[in-house]
Symmetry: C2
Amino acid sequence: MRYFCRVSYDGTPFCGWQRQAGGRSVQQCLEEAATTILRHETAVTGAGRTDAGVHARAQGAHFNCEPIRDIGRFTVSMNAVLPPEIAVYGVTEVHDSFHARFSAIRRSYRYTICLRKSPLLAGRSWQVTYRVDWNRLADETAALLGEHDFTAFCSSGSGSRTAICTVTAASIVRENDCMVFSIEANRFVYKMVRSIIGTLVDIGRGELHLSCADIIERKDRSLAGTTAPPDGLVLDNVIYPEVE
Amino acid sequence: MRYFCRVSYDGTPFCGWQRQAGGRSVQQCLEEAATTILRHETAVTGAGRTDAGVHARAQGAHFNCEPIRDIGRFTVSMNAVLPPEIAVYGVTEVHDSFHARFSAIRRSYRYTICLRKSPLLAGRSWQVTYRVDWNRLADETAALLGEHDFTAFCSSGSGSRTAICTVTAASIVRENDCMVFSIEANRFVYKMVRSIIGTLVDIGRGELHLSCADIIERKDRSLAGTTAPPDGLVLDNVIYPEVE
């Protein structure tokens, strides 16, 4: 049987989603918890690999196992075995053809920038205290919408064949003492959101004299700005036609 | 000269707002930081004493000192000296008659209840997983509005002369996987919000067969429910006619 689940995590203590030597990953914790509870080796596949320190509200994942009799009890057990920084919910049986990564039609991310020291958002935000023209960045953000080749916002080491992504929503809004950037696309390339955020801030503070549209068009990573820190980034949702 | 400032803090590592022997308090950290930067003993007075583990988004405070030449620089220095869990902002000169506690006309609190394990809200919420009739609690919450004697929701040890408070706003709304309770009043008695929250949840889960209105009217603390944990509580704002 194949099961789908949602995974929420505080990425701070992890080396990222993906299992790797020399670090504790979210995937590893999930596989260990599932293996303990289901009493057989269980591999867990995620919708996407978040980097070290990046958080998730509703990552998607699937795993194969013997039929689970009581899904409610399984969920409670998983959450008891998992560390406090990881939770699963929305466990549901899916068709064998469902795949957490390949069945996803869209993903969305949120990035929070604090305009001052914010103890209640520590570890969940990037503190930007220099002067930034945020109004200008609303236009820059709108330029991301549509199908583009995001080579300029793709870090090396991704192994992707193509950097073409279709951005279906992009906004930057003020919420109290923060600027919250939201983006939804069919797919994202390696470190794309953090590269975009770092570039937007560089443009808004006048350190970078190019527009997002120019940078995208020239497909040159060296033209884009800095990569924003992982703390502010949350994988907010992964959208599937089949579930929810 | 008298100065006003806003204080935001993650209450987790503190014994509460107020200075006390045998624990590190927010007030003590502020006084130590101000004394370091201003180079003379500085006392800091807050609008209200939050309990151990309770957070604040916009606590109000005042202090007396020699004229501060550069308020922006003073704020930056304070935030550098303060621990990461405390920040000050909105420092402004006020009249000698201004008092952070007595000049405040209203205070507001937010309390976040998570309906499942939520790593991104750990330490900022109370996890309530038993079945609660939240719809019923909307009516119970509305019953708090107006002027009442909140003796039934006042823990002993407060030292208040009276428990009469005027509640100017009260709501409970769903936000994603949380229920967020907001309340604004001219004043609050000791542990009032946490007593109300614990009581609401007890009513909503059918453990307590009284309404909030009944409990208020009978003025008997033993009739109210449990006291909710501090983690979910944030002093959201303190409202002054003079500032902002």
